[in-house]
């Protein structure tokens, strides 16, 4: 695991964790996800729901992103994916796609993390940083990212694998000057 510390900013890569993309439109799909995961499916824009094991993020009116809090074993991860696949994809309620290797999760902690993000992001974090569980999809240094505000000064950032090394270098470079 990569971990870098600066004054008031700690950047760490958290892998491997389970990440699943869920897509569907009808009400049955939304109810089914909630039932299978024991989570209330977030239907309000830019919000999320969590339990002790999983987080479900709203991405768009018909798309959600599920990720685990801890590093799940392959057996647990596969059984959750299979369960969702059988209950949702197989019965044509929606789609379930394992994107664990597609996205990289980077955890940012510290009092100045929003100053770091603001150096390369067009998003206004004023309300976001005070709303626990808030989610946004935006650009950071021209790279698509998903940002989940886990707690006060503690957020998880998801970036596509092919851009992750570049974004990691950029964040470390920028953090040195904050």
């Amino acid at each position: 695991m990569d971990l870098k510390e600066y004054s008031e900013i700690k950047i760490s890569e958290i892998e491997p964790i389970l990440k699943i993309n869920l897509r569907g439109k009808n009400r049955n799909f939304i109810t089914k996800i909630g039932k299978e995961l024991s989570i209330i499916t977030p239907v309000d824009p830019n919000t999320s729901s969590s339990n002790e094991k999983l987080n479900l993020l709203w991405l768009s009116p018909d798309e959600w992103f599920l990720y685990s809090n801890d590093k799940l074993g392959i057996k647990d991860a596969n059984s959750l994916e299979d369960k969702l696949f059988n209950e949702i994809s197989k019965v044509k309620l929606g789609s379930v796609t394992n994107v664990s290797d597609h996205w990289i999760m980077i955890n940012l902690k510290g009092r100045k993390i929003f100053e770091l993000l603001s150096t390369g992001c067009p998003f206004n974090f004023n309300n976001f940083k005070n709303s626990k569980g808030a989610v946004t999809q935006t650009l950071l240094n021209h790279i698509d990212v998903i940002i989940h505000n886990k707690n006060v000064n503690d957020l998880n950032l998801f970036v596509r694998r092919s851009f992750s090394a570049h974004l990691w270098s950029w964040m470390n470079d920028s953090a040195r000057f904050i």
Binding site: P45, T138, D144
Partner: protein, 91 residues
């Protein structure tokens, strides 16, 4: 740089969006019955006026949803934003 109010995500910077050209162009019901000129008119010819224009936009770096916008191209003032399938709120 200007702010666009995505009908799904809320206010975001323009850099998160992609312009998709003129809105409300209806595909001909019988394309095979059209002349080449009529087909080219439908396929390629777009208005690009200075003034209020109806446009399609995509929140490509956000929710990735398409929506419509009424924008004054001379000063980038946005008069309305509405979802696909909805009627334009102004004429």
């Amino acid at each position: 740089m200007f702010i666009i109010n995505c009908p799904y995500c809320g206010e975001r910077d323009q850099s998160e969006f992609s312009a998709g050209g003129e809105a409300h162009i209806v595909r001909p019901k019988q394309p095979t019955e059209l002349s080449d000129d009529q087909w080219a008119e439908y396929l390629f010819m777009r208005k690009n006026i200075k003034g209020v224009q109806f446009e399609r936009w995509n929140h490509s770096h956000g929710c990735r949803k398409w929506f419509n916008m009424v924008r004054d191209t001379s000063n980038d003032k946005i008069h309305a934003v509405y979802k696909m399938g909805e009627k334009p709120p102004v004429k």
